[in-house]
Structures are given as C-alpha cells and as structure tokens.
Amino acid sequence: MDGEGQTKKFMFVNRKVPYGTVYALESLEVVLISAAFDQDVSLAFVDDGVYQLKNGQSTDGIGMKNFSPTYKALGDYDINKLYVEKESLEERGLSLDDLMELTYEDEDDDWAEKTSIILVSREELAEVMDQQDVLISS
C-alpha cells in the first residue's frame, strides 16, 4: 500500500470557495486518505481557496454539512504543511487572524504544539510547487 517504500512530494492545490461546489470537500477527503501512504503531503490555499480556512463557518442556514472543523484534524494525520498565499489573503481583505487555528504536535520537539499554516508569497509558493512530484488540483 505504501508504493514499495517510495516517498513522493504530493501537493493538493485548493483554489475554490467552499460550499458553492463540492471540490473543497472532496479534495479534503483525498488528503485524509493520502495520509495513510506515508508520503510527503502538503496543501496549498491560493486564490479563493483561502476561504476554505476562514474561521466562523456556519452552515446551519444552508442545510449542508460544515466540514471546516475537519481541517483541524489534519495535524493528527501528520499533515502539517498548509501553505497559504499571502497575496490571495490580502486581495480578499483577510489576514491570518481571519483563519482557523490549525496546529500539530511536533513529535521531534517534545510534542510541542505548532502552527500548520505557512504564510508564503506568490513567488515562494511557485518555488514550492516547482519542487513537487504530484500536484492534485481541484
């Protein structure tokens, strides 16, 4: 199941607002499964994708499941590289304070709780993307 011990760099690129389409939810489902394969998994939130991490999501009025709490479980799944693009946040009048707190416990640092969100510029993200083996966009 782990692909004969190979480790590849997987990046899931999220560029859509949640709820209007199913892409954010179904992308998150792949991400959770990918955790079982011991790969080097990261997520990117670009353009409207940054809205997926917006805090305070409440779906009571639209009758859909609020899946935003699931992003908080990613740390338990050892997925702790969530790249958020700075320009996309700024264009939308958002800052890190508007996003959910997403953390993981660092096994190599006495289980210290650390943030999973990595704020990057467009240029920095382009470099990170360039180094990936597999980019899955939705």
């Binding site: 199941m1 190979q6 590849k8 179904e26 792949v30 499964i33 990918s34 980019l135 966009s137 939705s138």
Partner: protein
Amino acid sequence: MKFTILINEGPYQHQAADSAYQFAKAALEKGHEIFRVFFYNDAVNNATRLAIPPQDDRNITVQWAELAEQNNLDMVVCIAAAQRRGMLDDDERDRQGKDASNIHPAFRISGLGQLVEGGIQSDRLITFGD
C-alpha cells in the same frame, strides 16, 4: 513513461472527460503506459452504462470501455464519490440493499487510495477538471 489520469468532471457537461480520453488515446498510441484512470467528483458519471446519447455524437462511456478493452486499462471509480451520486456496481447494490446498479463492467469501484497509489506509482499524474 507511466501516466495516471485523474478526471473530475462528468460527461457532456464539461470537456474534461473528452480531453482526458483524447489524451489517454494519444499517450497509448505513443507507446506510453496508462497506469490508471481515476474518476472522481462528478466524473464518476462517466461510468454509467445507462446513458443514451444521440447516435450522431460520441458515447463517452462506450469510448472509455473500448479503449480499456483494447489496452487493458485500469479504470477506477471512487467509491465515496460514486455512493454520493448514486453510482453502484452489482456488489455495491447488494451490499447497500439498493434495487439497481448502473456502472459499466469496464470500470471498477474502489477507494481514493487508488488515486494516491497512482500518484506514487506513475511518472506523471495529470488532472482534467473544471
């Protein structure tokens, strides 16, 4: 070279499924290997055996089935996405206690792990979607 193809859109609504099919065909003609074609999101609807498109246009499900038969393609429909959208094979029909199935036998239902494995085992994973 080994490719895995990920498709995210249903047939006819969006060109993604057609583009993926043309790409797969061209890759095979050039001697490449298709490790897997993975149908996710609405793309699970590519696998319906009940569609009746007009005779003067392409039949996307049949095209896939023929390509698969000629080239021994592994075509996987995501079980989670399929269940949401009412796509069932005979086994799932029985397991879930439903009264019908609709997945063409050229496709098989399996989990999302098959997509991740495709990414690991292939040289390239290419996505077609909206």
